[in-house]
């Protein structure tokens, strides 16, 4: 069967693009670029398959390789770190040049030898696809290659088992859940329940001021440990207490001081500045 013009045009468009993609796979320093080049090559390959009337193979190429395998690949890259790049250090000196030389040599050999081949007209495609391509393929798979299909199944079992062996870690220590944590806390004599929330006062950002216990003493633990370590805690000195006391009194008498709001705003600004500083 002769190659039609459309097929030839599509081939000469796709083939150089695929070669470029393949080169990108080899030369890209970043793993993600390499993976994307590979996806590109695979999609082009699928188009070539479809063009050659192997529709089933084309679709499978997209669904299985591009869709599943390469996406998993990209996921793994994301997990490992997108920024990871190939190390260009040679462990054996001159290895790269020897490798390039050998590769070019092999390539030349392959190209020259296969270019010498004069292939006869291809026959049998219409017969094979006489009843749609997938049906023809199914017939071959289920008759001539049914054994291969079965042993591929054992290959998959092997792969799954091997992956489990290499990655599955059985739990050797008892699982520590909430009850165990609580029990351990009780045994250690720690605070049995949640720590008290920080105090809420009008003039302060509530997070940084300790709460008061029933006797009016500040509870240290109620302020976040992080703030305490950073020294951003505001001690609830007597001033504040009196302030609170006077505010309470003022509220009782219905006298709302206007300056409190202003002060609170100022206070907030300070806290924000402190927080940003802390984060930086």
């Amino acid at each position: 069967m002769m190659t039609s013009t459309g097929e030839a045009v599509l081939f000469w468009v796709l083939a150089p693009a695929m070669v470029l993609g393949a080169l990108g796979l080899v030369f890209a320093r970043k793993a993600v670029y390499a993976a994307l080049s590979m996806i590109f090559v695979m999609v082009c390959l699928a188009m070539v398959y479809v063009m050659q009337q192997a529709e089933f193979l084309g679709i499978v190429q997209v669904v299985v390789y591009t869709g599943a395998v390469m996406m998993l690949f990209v996921f793994v890259l994301m997990l490992v770190g997108v920024d990871a790049s190939t190390s260009a250090v040679e462990t054996i000196k001159g290895q790269r040049w020897i490798g390039i030389l050998m590769g070019v040599g092999l390539g030349t050999l392959l190209v020259t030898v296969t270019a010498r081949a004069a292939l006869p007209e291809t026959v049998g495609l219409d017969e094979a696809n006489s009843e749609t391509n997938p049906a023809g393929l199914a017939r071959v798979l289920m008759s001539d290659f049914v054994l291969d299909l079965e042993i591929v199944a054992t290959l998959l079992v092997t792969a799954a088992l091997a992956a489990l062996v290499l990655t599955h870690r059985r739990r050797l220590t008892p699982k520590i859940g909430q009850p165990e944590r609580a029990a351990a806390r009780m045994l250690a004599g720690d605070h049995p329940v949640n720590l008290p929330a920080p105090g809420v006062y009008a003039r302060h950002n509530a997070m940084d001021v300790p709460a008061l216990d029933p006797e009016g003493n500040p509870i240290e633990a109620s302020v976040s440990r992080v703030l305490r370590i950073r020294g951003q805690e505001h001690s609830l000195d007597t001033d504040v207490t009196t302030l609170v006391a006077t505010r309470d009194a003022a509220e009782l008498t219905g006298d709302h001081g206007t300056d409190t709001a202003a002060e609170r705003g100022g206070q907030n600004d300070d806290t924000d500045a402190a927080t940003t500083e802390g984060e930086a």
Binding site: E127, E131, L147, I151
Partner: protein, 599 residues
């Protein structure tokens, strides 16, 4: 025979001859059941269940093969039987080689299963990071990775399918089935785990690379013939190439050479040998033995299948191309294996180079393939290769079983801790005094490797080289004999070391400090001409630590007793090696049937 090509418009259900498929089903089925055993059997009973299952499957399949040979195949006039539309092609050659693989694998399994005190080869759990707390915890809790048994069976199943494949696709799948479990098992060593994982990764990457060559070769052959069925490729133009296909012959030549690259990688022939020393050294020693013996047998089955299907029948030019390729590879393997073996100081690396040399010796026989003369369908190399592989397999499994029992140790008396193998040659000095049985057995294996008369190795080499001489390659046979002579040097050196040299490290005084070479996770321990002594770890069960400082080892060497199973395996291997050397007649007569056309 079933029809080989079914291009019928109507779906024709393939005939499945269960009797002939039973050995494969038995081994692969047992492997799948083994996976289920992992899920449903209590941990305490798992190992014994798995071991029983695996041994029954291996020996059962071997017995079934013998029955097929005697009762089913012999009465027929067929030279081969095509199964499932030609996916498998069973012949005397296949049956014999599979039986060899199964028997040697059963011996190797006995060694793999050895968990006697201090002799366990496998990490408590392969998923633990070397040197981590989790690993230590797993070790103290006595965890075992019993998944090795199903993996082992899968590998054996692949090895059985490999030389039986009737089309290239089956051959490729079989190649993968046998390789995948081996990649994983190489990374599961208990001691020196980083080295083991490095070996596993190297093996995997290079193996994947070589598989790609095989696939490319398949594609090229398909491009030439329009089929991947071995029978169909040669059939119809066995004696005369059809006019239409003449133009495509370059594709065929290139394709066959690339197929050979794929299988010669598994064989470990130069220049596809780079993985061999590192993987043999890093893998758990019992797995190294299995891998060396059985993989080589299976892969040579595939080599012969490719050579015999393609070389003699499709024209003289292809025969010449293939023969030249094989001769070059054979010479390179023999020379490199023998010469680099001389400078090795590590027993496992030494055996690795020896295996490379042996691959070369077998290829000498393969190179003796003659073009089809229009009359006889006889390939004397078939029987020679099987005999060689049997002799080599027995000696290899035995030798590695001995290597794994010679351990470094620390402390004395009751609190002595056994560490990894004492692989440095200096540690083997005086083994004959310490453990006469092991030393004698090891000497027998080494003499067999060397090809000294009265051992199986001699008969193997003799028949193999005779094939080459008959094939007109007498100079290659002479070269092979010379290389064997070089190799004798390093085998005999070990024997002298074991029996006539006093142990350097007496138990009372520590051996002088040896330099611990820093072994990086990658890169180090390449083909350095001088073997790098690797000191053991002060703590048992912990992998080799990265260290560039000098460390003192106590240098103590203990010889473990090993389990009954592994001692039986060593004894059987030794007796087999001697018996095949003294009385090779019956076996050679049996193998005479395999020389018929169709390997």
């Amino acid at each position: 025979m079933t029809p080989l090509i079914a291009a019928a418009p109507q779906f024709v259900q393939p005939e499945i001859w269960w009797t002939w498929l039973a050995p494969y089903l038995l081994v692969l089925g047992a492997a799948v059941v083994g996976v289920l055993v992992e899920a449903f059997v209590a941990p305490r009973a798992r190992r014994s269940t798995q071991l029983t299952l695996a041994l029954v499957a291996l020996l059962g399949a071997a017995g079934w093969n013998v029955w097929l040979w005697v009762d089913q195949f012999a009465p027929t006039e067929f030279k081969a039987i095509a199964l499932v539309n030609g996916s498998l092609m069973v012949s005397y050659f296949t049956l014999a080689l599979q039986t060899v693989i199964l028997v040697v694998a059963a011996l190797a399994l006995l060694v793999v299963a050895d968990r006697s005190r201090g002799a366990d080869d496998f990490a408590p759990t392969a998923a633990a990071i070397p040197g981590s707390d989790y690993e230590e915890l797993a070790r103290t809790k006595g965890l075992q990775q019993t998944e090795i048994y199903p993996l082992f069976l899968f590998a054996v199943g692949g090895m059985m399918l490999f030389p039986a494949a009737g089309n290239l696709l089956t051959m490729f799948i079989a190649l993968e089935i046998l390789s995948l479990p081996l990649y994983v098992m190489s990374g599961m060593a208990r001691h020196r785990r980083l080295l083991s994982q490095e070996a596993s990764l190297k093996y995997f990457l290079l193996g994947a690379f070589s598989s790609a060559f095989f696939l490319m070769g398949m594609a090229l052959v398909y491009g030439y013939a329009g089929t991947i069925n071995l029978w169909a490729i040669t059939n119809g133009h066995a004696l005369q190439v059809p006019e239409a296909l003449v133009g495509g012959r370059p594709l065929l030549v290139m394709g066959v050479v690339m197929l050979l690259v794929g299988v010669l990688f598994k064989v470990g022939a130069v220049p596809f040998h780079q993985w061999t020393p590192d993987v043999y050294q890093g893998a758990p020693t019992s797995i190294t033995g299995f891998m060396a013996a059985c993989t080589k047998a299976a892969a040579f089955g595939a080599v012969i299948r490719i050579v015999v299907w393609f070389a003699p029948f499709i024209g003289l030019d292809l025969h010449e191309e293939i023969q030249v390729t094989i001769v070059i590879v054979a010479i390179a393997s023999m020379l490199l294996g023998s010469v680099l073996g001389v400078v090795q100081h590590d027993v496992k690396r030494l055996l690795a180079y020896s295996s490379i040399a042996h691959a070369g010796f077998v290829l000498v026989a393969v190179a003796g393939v003659l073009p089809y003369d229009g009359q006889t369908f006889v390939f004397p190399m078939n029987s020679a290769v099987i005999f060689y592989l049997l002799a080599y397999g027995l000696a290899t499994v035995g030798a590695f079983a001995v290597v794994r029992l010679v351990r470094e140790s620390q402390g004395r008396g009751a609190d002595a801790v056994t560490l990894g193998e004492a692989t440095h040659l200096s540690q083997w000095a005086g083994l004959g005094r310490r453990s006469p049985f092991l030393a004698v057995a090891f000497s027998v294996f080494l003499l067999s490797f060397a090809g000294i008369p009265l051992t199986a190795g001699f008969i193997g080499k003799f028949t193999a080289f005779k094939v080459a001489v008959d094939g007109g390659l007498w100079w290659l046979a002479v070269l092979a004999v010379l290389c064997s002579a070089i190799a004798v040097f390093f085998y005999v050196r070990i024997i002298v070391l074991m029996f006539f040299v006093d142990p350097a490290a007496d138990d009372t005084e520590p051996e002088p400090a040896r330099e611990v070479v820093a072994v990086g996770a990658l890169g180090a321990t390449s083909d350095a001409p001088v073997g790098t002594p690797l000191a053991g770890e002060p703590e048992a069960g912990v992998g080799l630590r990265l260290s560039d400082e000098l460390r003192r080892t106590s240098g103590g060497v203990t010889v473990l007793k090993g389990s009954v199973g592994s001692r039986v395996a060593i004894a059987v291997a030794m007796v087999g090696t001697l018996l095949l050397g003294v009385l090779p007649g019956p076996v050679l007569d049996l193998l005479e049937k395999t020389v018929n056309f169709l390997p």
